[in-house]
């Protein structure tokens, strides 16, 4: 337990962009719905920190594909003080993960992502559900991808590649959600335009219209900066 006046990385106090907040909420709600322990494959501290805080009420384990953390590391130093008192731990490897009906993967890297998926497929029981976050090209405009802060991923796998991997490995893709899809982007621009035209009342209304159209399913989701794909492991996969 840390004492008063402890120093921890500042990043734990920061909120990610709304796109990532939506995506991570969806993952957390989905994982908790299954009950029991949860497993998280996090490609970066960025994802690990935000998922652990959302899953604080669960017992669970965190795997760090890409090796950004090792089980010997202190979770508080890595992720911040919010992990104090949670039942989350760093897993030594895939065999160290709890049995769970669902897992979150945030997010697949273009290099090595297929190997992680093979591990997930071998571990998750038939019918198990996988929630995958994917940053698209437009995500590069989000603050997470600028400056010297921690980035969500090094080189995210494209959705096309992710779908290929999933299908080849016998996963059934259930749904695709995109956050801040084109229509909401247009409303966001309209809001800024109204602000410049000194109509903050209309700017606010455009902002709410943007929020109302923030989430898109199916093909429109491809164009969103941040997406979540849900997939189910087949009985034979």
């Amino acid at each position: 337990m840390l004492g008063w006046g402890c120093t921890v990385p500042e990043a734990w106090l920061e909120r990610p962009s709304l796109e990532y907040q939506h995506a991570l909420d969806l993952l957390a709600a989905g994982l908790q719905r299954g009950g029991g322990p949860v497993a998280v494959f996090a490609s970066s501290r960025f994802y690990a920190r935000d998922l652990v805080k959302r899953l604080a009420a669960c017992s669970g384990a965190l795997l760090a594909p890409g090796g950004w953390a090792s089980p010997a590391d202190d979770l508080v130093s890595l992720l911040g003080p919010e992990v104090v008192g949670t039942a989350f731990r760093l897993a030594f490897g895939i065999d160290d993960l709890p049995h769970a009906p669902a897992a979150a993967w945030a997010e697949p890297e273009a290099e090595g992502g297929d190997q992680v998926l093979a591990q997930v497929g071998a571990w998750l029981p038939a019918g198990g559900r996988l929630y995958v976050v994917s940053s698209g090209r437009l995500a590069r405009y989000l603050p997470e991808w600028h400056g010297s802060g921690e980035r969500p991923a090094v080189r995210p796998a494209s959705l096309r590649l992710l779908r290929q991997w999933l299908r080849r490995s016998g996963w059934g893709i259930e749904a695709l959600y995109g956050f801040h899809a084109p229509t909401s982007v247009v409303w966001g621009h309209a809001s800024r335009l109204m602000e410049r035209l000194h109509r903050p009342d209309l700017a606010d209304r455009c902002q709410f219209q943007m929020r109302a159209g923030y989430i898109r399913r199916g093909q429109w989701a491809f164009l969103a900066p941040v997406r979540v794909m849900t997939a189910k492991r087949s009985a034979t996969g």
């Binding site: 959302r54 000194h198 009342d201 606010d204 929020r211």
Partner: protein, 436 residues
């Protein structure tokens, strides 16, 4: 409002608040002007604890009944459990949850803890120091340690961002003054609270049709000219407390003018618009219901200072918003937030959705409005009744239900939203309801 009406309303609200408790504290979904938080429903250690703790303390002080002190202390213990080693509170960001570092929420929690400590000290309870230490830890480590800009004598709203939000700063001032009072350390008053109040006053409009309005925030010194009557009311307690502590008439004058601005925009039915803009435009909807408890409090605080106000219409607007569950409706007109046209006959889902962090405003005001000596004739048998109602969501008519166990929304029998009370996440939330 007669005493029996108020006592009945408070008794029902107390029963409802009990249904909103989970293992860690008071939870539930949030609807707000800025953003909604419908998926995460875990305990939020934010400004909901201000109204809950201070409301229960008022009930204890008015009735002498220790069960209210026990409830206030139980809520204080939630905050202690939710406090991080850095002094911050988990999930303190209300509509932005689950994130720590929420403003004014952490200061509102501090204020509640400090008042709890004061009451416990007066009652001779030895553990008052624990609550004082928690609040002081937050104020020292987070507010002074991370948000205070010593060169500019200003508390920024977030670490590393030069934005100032008057209503949040006013809540912080209340906490700082409470800390000065309980510790006897004048530095909290002189170094931090009064310069902060001076900055709040500088954000107030002087003259013209918006005289008394207080802008929502400033960024890099540039004022953002959105004027929310509700947030102006949230500035009043800090200004009055500053006047009481320092005797500076400018604070009282600012509080009076803030309230005058609010009253100029009050509709006949006692309700208020959501936001007024510098050019005279306004966005009326959604109009707060439960939250007008804070506006009524501002009126009550200024009454002893010679401000002649009729709170009647606003009090009636508030009481009409109480449901059979005991909760208060959040608002009227969420469905018109984009169009700003007449919302029509049915409430939107978020209008009906009871939010602890709004109902606490009604709870605190009503508890304070009670006259003393209610212990013997406190209303009994005020259990929570289930509520079945029609509401709308994105233009469609839906069936809403709330009981002691859950809040549920259905369309043609299909569940679109279900939160089992006490759970940290909604059990069902259809994609069209992921609207933040």
């Amino acid at each position: 409002m007669d005493t029996a009406t108020i006592a009945g309303a408070v008794a029902r609200l107390d029963c409802w608040l009990d249904t909103m408790r989970g293992a860690d504290g008071y939870g539930g979904p949030v609807a707000h002007w800025w953003q909604n938080c419908l998926l995460f429903t875990g305990a939020g250690f934010d400004w909901r604890y201000e109204g809950i703790i201070l409301g229960y303390l008022s009930l204890f002080q008015k009735t002498g009944d220790r069960r209210w002190l026990t409830k206030a202390q139980r809520a204080g213990d939630d905050l202690l459990q939710g406090q991080l080693p850095t002094g911050n509170y988990r999930n303190s960001s209300f509509e932005l949850n689950p994130y720590p570092g929420g403003t004014p929420h952490e200061a509102a929690c501090d204020l509640a803890l400090l008042r709890l400590a004061t009451v416990l000290r007066e009652a001779g309870e030895p553990d008052w120091r624990t609550y004082l230490a928690a609040a002081e830890g937050n104020l020292r480590q987070y507010y002074v340690g991370r948000l205070w800009d010593a060169a500019g004598c200003i508390f920024w709203d977030q670490p590393g961002t030069s934005s100032f939000v008057p209503n949040k700063a006013a809540t912080l001032v209340e906490a700082l003054l409470a800390l000065a009072e309980i510790t006897g350390d004048e530095a909290w008053l002189q170094v931090y609270a009064l310069p902060t109040l001076d900055t709040v006053v500088r954000h107030q409009v002087q003259g013209g049709p918006l005289d008394g309005a207080i802008c929502q925030y400033s960024l890099h010194g540039q004022r953002v000219e959105r004027y929310f009557p509700y947030y102006a009311a949230r500035c009043v307690p800090g200004l009055v407390a500053g006047y009481d502590a320092a005797g500076d008439e400018s604070y009282l004058d600012a509080a009076r003018r803030a309230l005058a601005f609010i009253l100029r925009w009050r509709y006949e039915d006692g309700s208020l618009p959501q936001v007024v803009y510098a050019g005279g435009q306004l966005n009326r909807y959604p109009q707060w219901i439960a939250a007008v408890g804070d506006i009524l409090r501002a009126m009550a605080l200024l009454e002893p200072h010679g401000v002649d106000i009729d709170p009647g219409p606003t009090g009636e607007w508030l009481l009409r918003g109480q449901e059979v569950t005991g909760s208060f409706r959040t608002a009227w007109g969420f469905g018109a937030q984009i169009s700003q046209r007449d919302p029509g006959p049915l409430p939107e889902f978020r209008d009906l959705l009871p939010v602890v962090g709004w109902s606490d405003k009604a709870f605190r005001y009503l508890a304070e409005a009670l006259s003393g000596g209610q212990a013997g004739d406190w209303p009994t048998g005020q259990g929570v009744q289930p509520l079945d109602a029609e509401c709308t969501w994105q233009g469609k008519v839906l069936a809403y239900r709330e009981d002691t166990a859950a809040i549920e929304l259905r369309r043609n029998g299909q569940v679109l939203y279900r939160w089992r009370k006490g759970a940290p996440w909604a059990e069902v939330c259809a994609p069209e309801m992921w609207w933040k």
